[in-house]
């Protein structure tokens, strides 16, 4: 089945995972458990071609991510190629390993925006979560360098049980760091986060409090900082429209060149992914089996098939459906109408206090 007609949508964004190498060990890392090695990484010339092909297809923004993108010595060359292709360039960094000199060169080469992750508002806890002593201090220093260069800054705070009580402090820290935007992103349970789920999962009361805090902070800081929230979906009644719908708005290129509809798509067995080493980005977008596997909504079973929210959330997330039900076509069990929803409620109440399985190569 292809599922695509004449009106195949054009992607808006491309997540470029330049490397899986990263000095940090965050236990909720969105990278897969099997990480690409340095020797398998695409070279800068191939990235440049990918950016030109993506721009021709309609992509407007490229998110240079990883791992830690600064682990690549040719980061400036890669960024300049994206800028040269006419793309809006966003650098997603841990700040660790990104030197003042490299940041300056990126700014000169046209970098549009920087996103820095923070693990907590309290230094000791932040460095513990990152699994890296000194990370917190480096992040604050880099934020100052970014704002001094007048590059707009977003702070990304991943929220889980160890820091959920400090959402207010995290937003205050983002303001202090000079961010115009902050993401309060509750952990999504894939890959490393799935391994650490019981150590990361907040309680229902904590989630309800955090949602209220975000609402009041939005009122208080209106016009000063934009607060975007990624909802804690295990505690939700309806699923998220994951990546805005499979193969609808974005694509993700792995360090070795595989093109995925979302960063966790490789967790679904049986999907055939094409590589930019063998195909153009346009060919992959229109014809690769993985992109066409779950396009549209015609593959969805009940209760989605007859649901009025079908075109709102596209049945939720395919990777989550597979992880929790064993069937990637099923309704995302976060949905209250899923026959498996009770299992999500159970999992949302499972808490353990063992130490994290840190993300390591």
């Amino acid at each position: 089945m292809t599922g695509n007609g004449a009106a195949l949508p054009r992607p808006l964004g491309l997540l470029a995972e330049l490397t899986h190498r990263c000095p940090l060990g965050c236990p909720y890392c969105s990278n897969p458990l099997a990480l690409d090695r340095r020797n398998d990484e695409l070279d800068a010339a191939t990235w440049a071609r990918v950016f030109r092909e993506a721009a021709a297809l309609g992509v407007l923004q490229v998110h240079l991510s990883g791992g830690e993108p600064a682990a690549r010595r040719d980061l400036v060359e890669i960024m300049a190629a994206a800028h040269g292709a006419g793309l809006y360039t966003n650098l997603i960094t841990s700040a660790v390993g990104l030197t003042t000199k490299t940041l300056g060169a990126l700014a000169d080469a046209g970098l549009d925006h920087v996103q820095i992750s923070i693990q907590d508002s309290a230094e000791k806890s932040a460095d513990h979560i990152a699994g890296y002593a000194g990370a917190f201090a480096r992040k604050r220093a880099l934020a100052a360098e970014v704002t001094a260069l007048k590059i707009p800054l977003t702070v990304n705070a991943v929220i889980h049980r160890a820091n959920i009580a400090r959402v207010e402090e995290l937003v205050a820290l983002a303001l202090e760091m000079g961010a115009a935007r902050v993401e309060i992103a509750h952990v999504q349970y894939y890959g490393w986060a799935l391994q650490n789920r019981a150590m990361l999962m907040p309680t229902r009361e904590q989630v309800e409090d955090a949602v209220k805090v975000v609402e009041s902070l939005r009122q208080r800081h209106h016009g000063r900082i934009v607060i975007d929230a990624v909802v804690p979906d295990y505690h939700a009644r309806f699923p998220k429209p994951c990546v805005g719908g499979w193969g609808r708005r974005s694509l993700n290129v792995t360090p070795s060149g595989k093109v995925l509809p979302c960063h966790a798509a490789e967790s679904i067995p049986g999907l055939e992914f094409w590589s930019v080493r063998e195909h153009s980005v346009a060919e992959i977008w229109t014809s690769s089996p993985a992109f066409n596997a779950f396009r549209g909504t015609s593959f969805l079973p009940e209760p989605c098939r007859s649901c009025e929210r079908r075109e709102v959330d596209f049945g939720g997330c395919r990777c989550q459906a597979f992880a929790l039900t064993g069937d990637a076509r099923a309704t995302d069990p976060v949905c209250q109408f899923s026959p498996h929803h009770a299992r999500v409620v159970e999992l949302a109440a499972e808490h353990e206090d063992r130490s994290y399985a840190y993300r390591r190569m």
Binding site: R10, L12, G86, D112, P152, A180
Partner: protein, 98 residues
């Protein structure tokens, strides 16, 4: 949007401009004007694009309204109200500096 509505009017003397990191571009593949911002993309209709295009940091808000009123032979008060409302929304989303 759940943001609190803002009623404060925009000073005629202010010179609105897009901050670094926000760009208005025309993209054929996406079918028109889009405003690119940090990790966000907003489709802009033709009228919004005409307003935002004039926010160069050089023209004052009064001059922008005059220019729009001339270009589209529309009543100045109406243009001032519509353009002012748009600029206020954009500024609250940190997409415009006033």
């Amino acid at each position: 949007m759940t943001d609190t509505p803002q009623t404060a009017s925009i000073s005629p003397e202010t010179r609105p401009r897009l901050p670094r990191g926000v760009r208005l571009v025309h993209n054929e593949a996406q079918g028109g004007w889009v405003l690119l911002a940090p990790e966000r993309v907003f489709k802009a209709d033709a009228i919004a694009a005409e307003i935002v295009k004039r926010c160069s940091g050089e023209a004052t808000f009064a001059e922008i309204v005059d220019d729009l009123a001339r270009s589209f032979t529309a009543p100045r008060e109406r243009i001032a109200a519509d353009a002012g409302a748009l600029l206020r929304v954009l500024a609250d989303k940190k997409l415009l500096e006033l």
